[in-house]
């Protein structure tokens, strides 16, 4: 398959996959909307840590954008991809700290300390983190290939694909974060 065609089809495959993932989260968020309209929906304060993780993931996306700019100029993108990866790992760490904060405040996923709102908060952030894991693996692979100087300014498909997916996870997180902020009131 010619290289341009491969680039295009790979990106399209990714886009459609992301459409599918979006529908998965659409299902979960509609469930929140339906449930929050009923009685028994307690307010939850968003853990501080989730604000930090939001910052982390936005910054990691910015580094990926710079990485792409660099590789287009023929400069090695490795430091930027690595920064993105580190911020991605930080994001995951902050999410876990966020859950810790919730449990320390007595808001559990399940059991007598839980309520519908807290259960949903855990499920949605957990589901997102699972998809982030895929993004992190992708960033790892891209890092390794970048170190091996596999990317040229003509062909950096791997960086493009990783970026698209990673930006998607970023935008998805921002949407979920704002959505949860509003719904958990």
């Amino acid at each position: 398959m010619d290289i341009n065609l491969k680039n295009n089809t790979s990106k399209q495959l990714l886009w459609i996959g992301m459409a599918g993932i979006s529908m998965f989260f659409a299902g979960l968020t509609s469930a929140v909307i339906v449930r929050s309209a009923e009685h028994g929906w307690d307010a939850i304060v968003m853990p501080e840590w989730f604000w930090y993780s939001t910052a982390a993931i936005i910054m990691s996306s910015i580094f990926l954008i710079i990485a792409k700019m660099q590789v287009r100029k023929g400069i090695s993108p490795t430091p930027y991809i690595v920064s993105s990866l580190i911020l991605g790992l930080l994001f995951s760490y902050f999410q876990i700290m966020g859950w810790n904060q919730l449990t320390s405040e007595g808001k559990y996923f399940v059991g007598p300390g839980s309520n519908p709102a807290s259960s949903f908060l855990y499920v949605i952030t957990f589901a997102h983190l699972m998809h982030v894991l895929g993004g992190i693996i992708s960033l790892l692979v891209t890092t390794i290939k970048s170190v091996q100087v596999k990317y040229t300014k003509e062909n950096y498909l791997g960086i493009e694909l990783t970026s698209i997916y990673w930006h998607f996870l970023d935008v998805l997180w921002v949407y979920l974060f704002i959505f949860l902020l509003v719904s958990l009131k």
Binding site: T9, M23, G27, V34, R35, V110, G111, P116
Partner: protein, 583 residues
Amino acid sequence: MSDHHKETFISKYVFCLDHKMIAKQFLITGMIMGIIGMLMSILFRLQLSNPGESFAVLEWFLGDKWAPGGVLDPNMYLSLVTMHGTILVFWVLTAGLTGTFANFLIPLQIGARDMASGFINMLSYWFFFAATIVMLISLFVETGPASAGWTIYPPLSALPEAIPGSGLGQDLWLVGMALFIVSSLLGGLNYIVTILNLRTKGLSMSKLPLTIWAILITAILGVLSFPVLLSAALLLIFDRSFGTSFYLSDIVIGGEALHHTGGSPILFEHLFWFLGHPEVYIILLPALGIVSEVMSVNTRKPIFGYKAMVGAMLVIAFLSFIVWGHHMFITGMDPFLGSVFTFTTLLIAIPSAVKVFNYLTTLWKGSIRFTTPMLFTIGFVSTFITGGLTGLILGDSALDINVHDTYFVVGHFHIVMGLSAIYGMFAGVYHWFPKMYGRMMNKKLGYIHFWVTFISAYGVFFPMHFLGLAGLPRRYYTNSEFPMFDGLSDINEIITFFAILGGLVQLLFVFNFFYSIFKGTKATENPWEANTLEWTTPIERIHGNWPGEIPSVHRWPYDYSKPGAEKDFIPQTEPLKEGETEH
């Protein structure tokens, strides 16, 4: 581009990247599961028509535990009904139908060497295989397979205390379905991207065979709706295994008050049917596509109203997202919502009617060849009309009040799915068998298969409308506890008789299929004298499909019996002659 890598048995038949082999993997797996699912229906039909009677065959298949003394155990009855539905809806009519024909036909009909990503395609099959193994294992667990219906509404599906099948059997079902959904999504990605990007020179969207249009729309439907089922299943898994209360509230079971509060089973129904309804169109659309193709080839006429056929499929697909509530009219939902869903549901009848009229017009003044695929195509048109019309009753909320969950529904959905869609699948298998295996399927056996199936199938499902209008609920182990249903036992016996007859003749089809692979008369390159690109590939079937350059396309696929042409068909690869207009 021919074989450039050394083929081992594993790389040729097992972890194959070639779309044609993957298609056959889907087909064979679908056929095997189809036999299992069909067998289940025969077993429970025996119980329904002869309640409490002993049948050696029940004990033979189910053993002493689930059919003590040859009498079907009531829990196993519900398990059989559940697994029958699950296997036939998902394994046969979704994966078996789309997985086979999308994989086989897309590259061949659009002029591509293979799918956009052979690797993702292969993954799609192996996830499907894994799902199959998990589902089959679930049949053998001690507490029995899942038994809350293929629709698995909680709390019944969430509580093992409510029904034994909701224990390990339901866990495995959910895992199996999660794997299945991933398989479906991986496949769908490939279908869409390949159709949009890898068409050969000259093949614009308006020259695509209707089969490909149907598959494209089906794939889009799948990508948008299956993930929502995944989210519903995820929340159910949490309720079952972790004690959350997404769907559960205020429950006393086994003498114990459960801790769950605040959940809503109706939430599950909304999420489930958001997939559930598009799912039936995911099943039907490929069959509509196949039938359009087969009908055109065998009437030697263009399919009437190509643009309208595409438009109708697009409208049906769009509407299919906003009708799911018609499965929930009597859940106590807001009556206004019920009205909205009635409105949108009845609207779907319009594009469906347009398609039926277009099929009839295609037959008009045709020159019909009665090949086996054509017989099944005619059967499709008949059952699509019959099943579609009863949909008008069920889609009307006020009428649904008294027929919901009765045999009227069972009759309706079997006629549209179990008959129409399966007939489309059979038509496809008979029609493309020569391209798949280089041989023809036996004609006489094909005729017998069709006629016995057509008569038996209507014999099974048409009487169900009367059972439904008599108020007989579905999923009842026996009808003998209500005197008001005593008069219905004759009908039930007739249904079981035809079910057994229809079931047995499918074995003839299976025999014909496998016999013909090895001993069928060798086919020519284009035995049906059809126009589409797949018939220009060599009979031996090679990787990359065409030995040299991929042919370019110059016309639409339906130039059959075009005035002024030498033969009664003009392949898509033929350039337009001087002064020849497009259709």
